[in-house]
Structure formats: structure tokens, C-alpha cells
């Protein structure tokens, strides 16, 4: 194959968004090297945001691409991957907004933080579209290793060190397990790495339901479940969330998780079509455990970051309902919920960051009486938390309704009922924070709030935080009422994705057979 024909086959245009992100990170790291740390911190965050938004715009332009497969099958830029890449890029952009002041105040270098964050974004974006085992693994590691580095970014804090070490060790072992599963897939398919080819060749060799495939499935799911922090692979989450810089936690809980879900959908649907029942069973168990444990343990938390950590485990459980039911609506509701989760969770984290920057604490009890000192922060946090809990006019409510409706349609009654119960539990602990903030009596005000500094937005790095709060506030409250475009987006994404179509069709043979018999019976009746 000569150079020209190779270039023609690569279809490089599909990774234009990723190329933009790569270019941005190169400019950030080299520019910082040239102009120095203090000078670069003035423009690097905005450049990163512009780059990420440009990537989102490039994704938008690709929406109706007729030829999504690129790099000889390594990368699949179908509608599903576009939506997930958009979610990841947006979450990174919002994370940059909230990290400017935070990183400056912790005395660490901003440009390197942004570089690593952009690399993590790049890894996540590639992971959402990778269609081949090697690509999946490399992008997964790009995401993971950048996340470990971000976790330990405040390197003089023993909590940060502990978090990074725990994350690294558990992450490395889960990567190893995932790799073992992938190598089994490679071996069982007789040397294929492309997901579609694996499924075809495994089916051809009649190994579809062999013990080897089941073991591969279990190992692969273990690796994915670590990424999305599903119980029982969640042990790292609370400690890592507590010890990491808060913007990193925000990115991990949204961007990294979204990438994990994208990987889960693509890998499980494409490579394990013959084991659909088995993986749905395993994921059902994970979803049940995540919803129960995440929401129940969150009740007992006193630290806001830990509370959000457990709540994110519970939220992952809700999202998994959409994955488990495997219907078109299920996938669409999952995407919708992830978009909603992006705004409300990042909004909540922005508020938590602002509070901890002003008071130096993230204890829930210290939030008492905040309403009287900082109404905007109180409003933002309340709206986001209520939305996370699923209170009606907000976007989280519609997300949950759609998820539960999709689950109910597909007959997962138990799962939906459990989801409803745990949602109610979650409302309790979210409301607890809101209630603490809006207490009226001055004597109930906490020490931190009594010493609350004057609200000043003109300090360096505060403006982006304000923008972040207002943006997520608006998105969380408006997107709930005007959620139709988001519904359309989610539904179109699923409808335009070939792998999900074939998956849904292949799940229906029993039904069509029944219909066929009915049709056969009907003429006889006429006779």
C-alpha cells in the first residue's frame, strides 16, 4: 500500500475534534514553556476552553457524516461517539472554568494542569469512538494515566498523595484485568482486534457462549466497572474524590465516567452480541448494588466531596438501567441523563469549589446559613443538588423519568422500582444540604459562614467560576423545561448509530417470531 492510497483510506477528517484538542494542548505546553508560568496563566485557560469548544463545534459539523469509520477500522465516529465526545469535551471545558482559581490558590502550575486535563479529555474522546482493542487500551490508558497525575497534583498534601497512590494501584490492576479479558478476545477470535471482526469470527468458530468468552466478558466488565465506579469496583472512589483537587473530581465524575459508559456500550454491544443476556445480567447486579450502596452510604457523609462521591456512584447505577435494558429508548435515556448529569454535577462541583476557596472547608455542617452571606452560591448549589435528586421542573427529573420509563417499557420493573426508592433516599441527603444552607436564624450559622469573606468577583480567576456557576445554573433549570432538543439529540444519536440498531434488532428475534406466528395464525382464522 503506497502512501497516497493509505492517506486516502485513513479518513482523517473524523478525528478533527481530537486533532483540535491535541493542537490546543501542544500550544498550551509549548507556550507555557516559552512565556513562563505567570504570563501564561493569563491566557492558557481561555485558550483551552476555546480549543475544547472548537472541538465541540467540529463534532457538530460531523453529525451527518456518511463515512464514520476511519483509520482502517480503528476509530468509529458514529453519532453515538459524537455525543459522548461532546459530553467529555464540554465537561473538560467547564472543568477548566472552575479550575483556574483553584489551581492558582493551591500554588501549582496551571499550564501543566491544563495539559494533563486536555490529555485526559483526548483519551476519553478517543475511547468513546475506538473500535478496536489496541485503540481501546491505548486511549483507556491515556485517560487513566492522566487521571492519576491529576489526582496527585497537589503533591505536598498527604491526602492527595494517598488518593493518587490508591487510584494508581487499583487502576493498574483493573487495567491488567481488562487487558487479560481483551487478550482472551484476541485469542478466541483467532487474532482479530477489530470489535466487529471479533464478534463475527467468534460466532463463526461457534465459541459465542463458550466459557472462554464468559471469562473474557467478566474481565472486561470488571475493567469498565472500575472506570464508571460501579459497586463493587468503587472502593477507590470516596478516598480519591476526597483527596484529589476538586476540579479533577468534577472531571472524573463526569468526563471519565461518560467515557467509561461509551466504552461499555460499544464494547459490549459490538463484541459480545451472543452473550447479551449474560452481560445484561452482570450489569443489572452492578446497577442494583451501585444504586443501593451509593445512595445509602451517602446518607452518612459529613464531607461534601465524599457526599458527591457516593452520590456519583448512585447516579452511575441509575445510568446503568438504560444500558441494561438494551432498547433504543434505554440507550437514548442514558445519553440524555448523562447530558443532564454533566450540567448538574459540574454545577454542584463549581459551587463546592467556590465555597471551599472562600472558607477552606467542605464539611456539610459548615454550609449552615450560607443563604444570608452568598445568595448566588446558595441558589446554584441548591438547584444543582435538587436536580441531582430529581425534583420536578429541573433537568435531572426529566432524565430520571426518561430512564425509568425506558426501563419500565422494557420490563425491568424491579430495577425501576429500586431506582425510585433509592432516588427518594437520595433526595433526603441532597435536601439536607439545601436545608442547612437556607436556615434563617443567625445563631445556627456555622463558624465558616460567620467569617465568610466579602464576595468579590474581580479577583483573578473568579470570573470563570462565576461564569461556570451561572452557566450550569441556567442549563440545569432551563434544560428541564425546554428539554425537547436534548431528547431529540439523544434519540437521533441512537437512531443514527448502526451498531445500536443491529443490536436492538438482534434482540428482537423472539418477538418477531411471535408476530410471525400471529400473522400465520390470522389467515387461518379467516378461513
Amino acid at each position: 500500500m503506497d502512501f497516497a492510497s493509505l492517506v486516502a483510506q485513513l479518513n482523517t477528517g473524523t478525528i478533527l475534534p481530537e486533532l483540535i484538542v491535541t493542537a490546543t494542548l501542544m500550544v498550551v505546553v509549548v507556550g507555557d514553556l516559552i512565556v513562563g508560568r505567570t504570563a501564561s496563566s493569563r491566557w492558557t485557560p481561555y485558550l483551552s476552553i476555546i480549543g475544547l469548544l472548537a472541538a465541540v463545534a467540529a463534532l457538530y459539523l460531523q453529525w451527518d457524516s456518511s463515512n464514520p469509520i476511519s483509520f482502517l477500522g480503528s476509530f468509529n465516529s458514529d453519532a453515538l461517539s459524537i455525543v459522548f465526545r461532546g459530553i467529555i469535551a464540554l465537561s473538560a471545558a467547564v472543568t477548566v472554568l472552575m479550575s483556574v482559581r483553584y489551581v492558582e490558590q493551591s500554588g501549582t502550575a496551571l499550564a501543566e494542569f491544563l495539559t494533563i486535563l486536555l490529555t485526559a479529555t483526548l483519551g476519553g474522546m478517543f475511547l468513546s469512538g475506538s473500535n478496536e482493542l489496541v485503540m481501546i487500551f491505548v486511549s483507556l490508558e491515556t485517560l487513566s494515566i492522566s487521571s492519576y497525575l491529576l489526582t496527585g497534583y497537589t503533591k505536598r498534601d498527604p491526602r492527595s498523595n494517598e488518593a493518587a497512590l490508591k487510584y494508581l494501584l487499583i487502576g493498574a490492576s483493573s487495567s491488567a484485568i481488562f487487558l487479560y479479558g481483551s487478550s482472551l478476545l484476541y485469542g478466541l477470535s483467532g487474532g482479530e482486534t477489530n470489535l466487529g471482526a471479533i464478534a463475527a469470527s467468534v460466532a463463526q468458530a461457534r465459541l459465542g457462549e463458550s466459557i472462554g468468552m464468559v471469562i473474557a466478558l467478566v474481565f472486561v466488565i470488571a475493567g469498565i466497572a472500575f472506570k464508571i465506579a460501579a459497586v463493587p469496583f468503587h472502593q477507590w472512589t470516596p478516598d480519591v474524590y476526597e483527596g484529589s483537587p476538586t476540579p479533577v473530581v468534577a472531571f472524573l465524575s463526569v468526563g471519565s465516567k461518560a467515557a467509561g459508559f461509551a466504552l461499555a456500550i460499544r464494547l459490549l454491544v459490538t463484541a459480545f452480541p451472543l452473550l447479551t443476556d449474560q452481560w445484561q445480567f452482570v450489569l443489572t447486579a452492578l446497577a442494583i448494588l451501585s444504586m443501593i450502596l451509593g445512595n445509602v452510604v451517602a446518607l452518612a457523609q459529613t464531607s461534601m466531596k465524599r457526599l458527591l462521591a457516593y452520590s456519583s456512584i448512585g447516579q452511575a447505577g441509575f445510568v446503568m438501567i438504560g444500558l441494561v435494558v438494551g432498547s433504543q429508548d434505554g440507550y437514548a435515556s442514558m445519553i440524555f441523563y448523562l447530558i443532564a448529569y454533566l450540567f448538574m454535577n459540574l454545577g454542584a462541583f463549581t459551587c463546592v469549589i467556590l465555597f471551599s476557596l472562600r472558607t477552606g472547608t467542605d464539611q456539610i455542617s459548615e454550609y449552615s446559613g450560607l443563604y444570608q452571606k452568598d445568595p448566588l452560591l446558595t441558589l446554584g448549589l441548591s438547584i444543582c443538588l435538587l436536580s441531582l435528586g430529581g425534583i420536578p421542573p429541573l433537568v435531572g427529573f426529566f432524565g430520571k423519568i426518561y430512564l425509568f420509563w425506558a426501563g419500565w417499557q422494557a420490563g425491568a420493573y424491579g430495577l425501576v422500582i429500586l431506582g425510585l426508592i433509592t432516588s427518594v433516599i437520595s433526595i433526603y441527603y441532597y435536601i439536607r444540604v439545601v436545608k442547612a444552607m437556607v436556615v434563617k436564624e443567625p445563631q445556627e450559622m456555622s463558624e465558616a459562614v460567620k467569617n465568610y469573606p466579602e464576595v468579590r468577583w474581580d479577583l483573578p480567576g473568579m470570573r470563570p467560576l462565576q461564569v461556570g456557576i451561572v452557566l450550569s445554573l441556567v442549563a440545569t433549570s432551563i434544560a428541564g423545561i425546554l428539554s425537547n432538543p436534548l431528547f431529540t439529540l439523544a434519540n437521533n444519536a441512537v437512531a443514527q448509530t448502526p451498531i445500536l440498531q443491529s443490536a436492538v434488532v438482534s434482540r428482537q428475534p423472539v418477538v418477531t417470531q411471535q408476530q410471525a406466528t400471529v400473522k400465520l395464525v390470522a389467515p387461518e382464522l379467516k378461513l
Partner: protein, 214 residues
């Protein structure tokens, strides 16, 4: 069986024995230095097995990267953290050990059964030793181009990250940041540990002033 096959069989047995022995040593020995050196032995034996499979580039790379770089770094780290610490023997440690052994044996038997039961889809083609490096190069620049290029971004970022974690920070004077948190730490105060009287600010290791500017 001719001479070559005999030599191959004997080498395979020898290498497998070395590899398993060294790997068991890595896990079971209590002296971490021995474990680290035996890890090198495991890597070398794996390289030998690759060589028997006609994968000479992989074998060479295995020695170069795993023995020459990874294992040396591991040993380096162990030597630099040369802290002898005797751990108090845990009561009823045998329960944990036997539970671990049961889990490992269970996993081992499961995987062995899987290997034996599965009708593997083996390719009859003999890998050619001479052109392996050329084949690998071709794959890198055709169907594995994207992961190959992404790996370069990954390595760049790992390089940047390693330098960030390892470099000696320039710490500004304490007075300049006295109103804020100590440098390079999280802004959130650590939680009060159980059994510690609340209200005393420098409770954890990091917030001791003497530790800040080490």
C-alpha cells in the same frame, strides 16, 4: 524428533520452570529486594519464550524495556527507599493467606479449564523470524496508526507529569501566602481525625510548618 525440536522442547521446559519459579519467588519471598531481582528473572524467561515463538523483536524489546528499564527503576526505587521496617505479625494471618491461596487456586483452575476446553482457533502459519520487525513497522503505519500516534501523546503527557511530580518546587515566602492555604495542598482543611481534639490546626503531617519547606 530431531535435534532442533529436542533443543526447543528442553528450552521451553527450562524457561517455563524458571519463569514460574521466579514469579512464585516474587510473590512469596518476604525480602522485597529478592522479589525485585526475581522479577527481572521472570521478564528474562518471558523473553526466552518469545524467542522460542520466533518473535525476536518482541523478545529483544522485552529485555530492553522490562529488564533494562522497568526492573532497574523498580530496584532503584527500592534501594532509595531503603527503610527496613519490621511489620508486627498480624494475628490470624493464616486466614488471609489461605483465603488468598484459595482464590488464586480457584482462578487458576478456572483459567486452566478454559484453556483446555476451548477449541482454539490456531493459525497454521509459521511466524517468520527474519521479517518480524518489518511486519510490525508496517502495522504501526497502517492499521494501528491511530493507537501508535496516540501513544506518543500519552508518553509526552507521562513525561510532563513525571517531571511535575518529581521536580523541586520553588516555594514562595510563607508571608506571601500566609492568608491562604499552605502551598501545593488542597484548599479544604483535612477532616479532624477521631480522637484528636478539634480546633488545633496543625494536626496532620502536611500542615506542620517544619514540613512545608523541605
Amino acid at each position: 524428533m530431531n535435534l532442533a525440536e529436542g533443543v526447543q522442547l528442553v528450552s521451553l521446559g527450562l524457561l517455563s520452570f524458571m519463569m514460574l519459579g521466579a514469579a512464585l519467588g516474587v510473590v512469596l519471598l518476604t525480602n522485597v529486594v529478592y522479589s525485585a531481582f526475581l522479577l527481572g528473572g521472570t521478564f528474562i524467561s518471558a523473553a526466552g519464550i518469545y524467542l522460542l515463538l520466533n518473535a525476536d523483536f518482541v523478545a529483544t524489546a522485552q529485555v530492553l524495556i522490562y529488564v533494562g528499564a522497568v526492573n532497574v527503576l523498580i530496584i532503584f526505587a527500592i534501594m532509595l527507599v531503603n527503610k527496613r521496617q519490621d511489620f508486627a505479625p498480624l494475628p490470624k494471618a493464616w486466614i488471609r493467606k489461605s483465603a488468598t491461596a484459595v482464590v488464586c487456586l480457584g482462578l487458576f483452575s478456572l483459567l486452566t479449564t478454559m484453556v483446555l476446553v476451548t477449541p482454539w482457533n490456531l493459525s497454521a502459519e509459521v511466524a517468520s523470524a527474519d521479517s518480524s520487525i518489518i511486519e510490525i513497522g508496517k502495522h504501526f503505519f497502517t492499521d494501528f496508526l491511530l493507537p501508535f500516534e496516540l501513544a506518543s501523546v500519552l508518553l509526552l503527557m507521562a513525561l510532563v507529569g513525571a517531571i511535575i511530580l518529581a521536580r523541586r518546587e520553588f516555594l514562595p515566602e510563607e508571608s506571601a501566602v500566609a492568608v491562604q492555604q499552605p502551598i501545593l495542598t488542597l484548599p479544604e482543611r483535612p477532616r479532624e481525625l477521631a480522637g484528636v481534639t478539634p480546633g488545633s490546626p496543625d494536626r496532620t503531617i502536611a500542615s506542620k510548618p517544619s514540613d512545608r519547606n523541605k
